[in-house]
C-alpha cells in the first residue's frame, strides 16, 4: 500500500529484520493446514453431496476468520483512540490483519453465490416441493415460497430479502475496506516523520470508525448469522459479536506474539505490565462474553416468548446442552480460573497457552450459535459425515488467512513500532531517559539486538 523510500535515513528496526524468517516459515507452513483442510472439505463435500452440510461448516469457519479481520480493524481503531501501551505490542499484526479484506471478501463468495442460487430456485425441487431443511440454501427466508406463506417473514421482507442481503453485504465490505485502507495509509504516513496532524487525523477517524464498526458488526452478523433462524431476534446480538470478535482477535494476536517473537531480546525488555494488560484484557473479554451470553439467555429463558424461547430450547435439548455446558467451561470457567490464578505471574507464554485453548473455544461458541439451526442434534454431525467439513473448513480458511497475513506482514515491512507516535514514549522503556535529536528514536537502543536493518 504505502512505499518506503525514506527508510535509509532512519535508524529503526523493521518487521523483516526481526521476524522476517519466521513469517516466511509461517507463510510456507500455512498452506499445509489449508491443504489438509481442503482435502477434508472435499471428502466431506463428496460424502454429503446434495446437502448443505459443507456450507454450514463453511459459514461457521468463515465467521471466525472474518471476525478476526473485522476485530483487528476495530482493535486497531481502539488503539488509535486510546493509545494504551498494550496496543504497541500488537499494532503491526493488527494492521496486517486489517489489510486482509480483499481475501476475506473472496472467502465470502461461496456464501454469496448460494444466496444468488437461492434467489433462483426459491427453495423448491424440480417437482415443485419444498426442499428438506438440510438441502435448502442456508437462509430459509431467501426462498420466496417459504416467505410468502409466513406472516412474520413477510412482515420483515423489506429487510430480509436476498437482493437487500447481497447489496448490504457488498456495502459492508466496501466500508471495512475503506476504513482499513485509510488506517494503513495514514499509519505509513505517520512512520515517515513526526507529524501530529496525521496522528490527530488517525485518532479522529478511528473514533468515528469505531461507531461504524459497531454498527456494521451488528448488521453483518444479523444478516449472516441471526437471520439463519429468521423468526428469532435478540437486540443484544450485535454486542455479543462485538465481544466475540474482539476476544478472537486478542487471543490470535497473543498467539502471534508468542510464536513469532517470544525469544526476541527486544520483547524481553518490554515491561511486564503490558503483558499483564493483555492478560487483563483477556480476562475482561472472558467476563464480557459470559455477561452478554448469560444476559441474553436469561432474558429469553425467563420471558418465555414463543419466537425467542424456541431458539434457546433447541440449544438446551437434544444433546446441544452438552455443547452449551462445554462452552461455559471452555469459554468461561476454565479461562477465568486460569487468568485469575496466573494474574500475578503473567507472561506471554502463559497467555499463549490459554489463547490456543481459546481459539478452540471460540470455534465451539460459533458452532453452538450457527450449527443447531440445521441439525437436530450434535450426533447428526457424525452420522452425516458433516464433521469432516466441520474440521476441514476452519483449517482451510485458517491456513489461507494465515498465509495471507504473514505475506502482508513481510510485504509492508513497517517499523516494528510506530516510532513517531508520541504516546509510544510511555510504552517503550528502552531508553526512556534519552530523547535526543529528531532522528534518534527510542528504537536505536533496540538495534543492538539486530544484525541488519532496512
Amino acid at each position: 500500500m504505502a512505499t518506503h523510500e525514506h527508510s535509509h535515513e532512519r535508524t529503526d528496526v523493521r518487521i523483516n529484520d526481526l521476524i522476517g524468517p519466521r513469517l516466511n516459515a509461517l507463510a510456507a507452513k500455512a498452506p499445509i493446514f489449508a491443504g489438509v483442510g481442503g482435502v477434508l472439505c472435499l471428502a466431506g463435500l463428496a460424502l454429503t453431496w446434495g446437502t448443505n452440510y459443507f456450507l454450514q461448516s463453511y459459514l461457521f469457519a468463515f465467521m471466525f476468520w472474518f471476525g478476526l479481520t473485522l476485530g483487528s480493524t476495530t482493535w486497531l481503531m481502539g488503539h488509535h483512540v486510546t493509545g494504551g501501551g498494550w496496543g504497541f505490542l500488537i499494532r503491526r499484526p493488527l494492521e496486517a490483519a486489517s489489510r486482509m479484506w480483499p481475501y476475506v471478501f473472496a472467502m465470502w463468495f461461496p456464501i454469496g453465490i448460494f444466496m444468488v442460487l437461492s434467489m433462483m430456485n426459491n427453495g423448491l425441487d424440480a417437482s415443485g416441493h419444498h426442499l428438506p431443511m438440510n438441502k435448502m440454501p442456508l437462509y430459509e427466508w431467501a426462498n420466496a415460497s417459504i416467505r410468502d406463506g409466513d406472516k412474520v417473514l413477510t412482515a420483515k421482507s423489506g429487510y430480509l430479502n436476498p437482493l437487500g442481503w447481497l447489496i448490504r453485504s457488498v456495502l459492508f465490505f466496501c466500508v471495512w475496506f475503506g476504513l482499513s485502507f485509510y488506517l494503513n495509509k495514514w499509519s505509513r504516513e505517520e512512520d515517515e516523520s513526526y507529524n501530529p496532524l496525521v496522528r490527530h487525523r488517525l485518532s479522529l477517524m478511528s473514533a468515528v470508525g469505531l461507531l461504524i464498526s459497531a454498527l456494521t458488526i451488528t448488521f453483518s452478523t444479523i444478516d449472516w448469522v441471526m437471520s439463519l433462524e429468521p423468526h428469532w431476534f435478540s437486540s443484544l446480538w450485535g454486542l455479543i459479536f462485538v465481544v466475540g470478535q474482539g476476544h478472537a482477535t486478542l487471543i490470535v494476536m497473543v498467539l502471534m506474539i508468542r510464536y513469532l517473537a517470544w525469544d526476541l531480546p527486544l520483547l524481553k525488555k518490554v515491561e511486564t505490565r503490558y503483558f499483564r494488560d493483555l492478560g487483563n484484557l483477556m480476562l475482561a473479554f472472558t467476563l464480557l462474553w459470559a455477561y452478554t451470553n448469560y444476559s441474553q439467555f436469561m432474558i429469553q429463558y425467563s420471558a418465555n416468548i414463543k419466537e425467542e424461547a424456541g431458539w434457546q430450547l433447541h440449544r438446551t435439548t437434544f444433546g446441544w446442552q452438552y455443547i452449551g455446558f462445554g462452552n461455559i467451561i471452555f469459554h468461561f470457567a476454565a479461562p477465568f480460573l486460569f487468568l485469575l490464578m496466573s494474574l500475578t505471574k503473567v507472561n506471554i507464554r502463559n497467555l499463549a497457552k490459554l489463547a490456543l485453548f481459546l481459539v478452540f473455544a471460540r470455534h465451539l461458541d460459533l458452532f453452538f450459535y450457527i450449527i443447531p439451526t440445521f441439525r437436530q442434534s450434535p450426533m447428526e454431525t457424525f452420522r452425516s459425515f458433516a464433521f469432516l467439513s466441520d474440521i476441514g473448513a476452519p483449517l482451510l480458511l485458517g491456513g489461507l488467512w494465515l498465509m495471507g497475513w504473514s505475506k502482508q506482514m513481510t510485504k509492508t515491512n513497517a517499523p516494528i513500532v510506530p516510532q513517531f507516535d508520541e504516546r509510544l514514549e510511555g510504552f517503550w522503556p528502552l531508553d526512556a531517559h534519552d530523547h535526543g535529536s529528531n532522528g534518534h528514536t527510542p528504537l536505536a537502543a533496540a538495534k543492538g539486538v539486530t544484525t541488519t536493518h532496512g
Binding site: 448469560y294 439467555f297 436469561m298 429463558y301 425467563s302 418465555n304
Partner: protein
C-alpha cells in the same frame, strides 16, 4: 492555637543535639538521660522526608539483622515491604475463603428453599433452576468477600487501637502528612540500645529519636 499551626509547617526546628553531626555536651547529657530510661524504651525511630533514604535505611537495618521493625508512612511506599523483609499474603487467601463461603451459602439457601423448603412451580421450570440462582450467588460472593476483607484487615492490623507507643513521639503527627518513620523495636533480638541508636544515626535521617513505652 497559632502554635499548633506553626508546628505542622514544613520548616520545623529540631532540638539541638538530636542531629547526627552534633556531638556536644547536650547530646551526651541526653544520652545518659536516655540510658537511664532504657528499660522504658519501646523502640528507636528515624525520621525521613523522602522514600529513597527510608528504603535504604530499611534495607540496611534488615542486612544488619533486625527483624522487628516497621515503617510509618503517609502513603503506601512501593518496595518497602521487600526492604523491611515483610511478607504477608493472608488477605487474598482470607478473602477467597470468605467469597467461597458466601458463594456456597448463597447457592445453598436458594437450592434448599426453592427446591425443598418452599417448592413452587414457577412457569414449569425445574425446582433446581440453576441459571436463576446465579445472580444472588454472585452477590453473596461479593458481599462476603468484601466483609471478610475489610473486617479481616482491621482485625489482623489490630485496629481499632487508639493508643500506640509511636504516638508518644513528638512530631509523629507528620507520619500521616509528609514524613516517613522507620522504627526498630526494643523487642528485637539484636536490639541493643547503644548500638542500635548508633546504627540508626548512620542512616542520614532528619533525626533519630527514642520511642517510649
Amino acid at each position: 492555637m497559632a502554635q499548633h499551626v506553626e508546628k505542622s509547617s514544613p520548616d520545623i526546628e529540631f532540638p539541638i543535639g538530636f542531629g547526627i553531626n552534633n556531638r556536644g555536651a547536650d547530646l551526651r547529657a541526653a544520652e545518659i538521660d536516655r540510658a537511664q530510661r532504657k528499660h522504658s524504651v519501646w523502640g528507636i525511630t528515624a525520621e525521613f522526608d523522602e522514600t529513597d533514604p527510608l528504603l535504604n535505611a530499611a534495607r540496611a537495618a534488615r542486612k544488619a539483622g533486625y527483624t522487628r521493625m516497621d515503617a510509618y508512612t503517609p502513603m503506601p511506599v512501593e518496595g518497602l515491604s521487600d526492604a523491611i523483609g515483610y511478607r504477608n499474603k493472608q488477605m487474598p487467601a482470607l478473602m477467597f475463603c470468605g467469597g467461597l463461603l458466601g458463594c456456597s451459602l448463597g447457592y445453598f439457601i436458594q437450592w434448599y428453599s426453592l427446591g425443598y423448603g418452599y417448592a413452587l412451580n414457577h412457569g414449569g421450570r425445574p425446582y433446581h433452576s440453576w441459571p436463576n440462582f446465579i445472580v444472588i450467588t454472585f452477590e453473596c460472593t461479593i458481599l462476603f468477600t468484601a466483609l471478610t476483607g475489610v473486617f479481616g484487615m482491621l482485625i489482623l492490623n489490630g485496629l481499632p487501637t487508639l493508643y500506640h507507643p509511636m504516638f508518644n513521639l513528638e512530631g509523629f503527627e507528620r507520619h500521616s502528612q509528609d514524613r516517613f518513620f522507620l522504627t526498630i523495636e526494643a523487642r528485637d533480638k539484636n536490639f541493643d540500645f547503644e548500638k542500635t541508636l548508633a546504627f540508626m544515626r548512620t542512616m542520614g535521617a532528619l533525626r533519630v529519636e527514642v520511642v517510649e513505652k
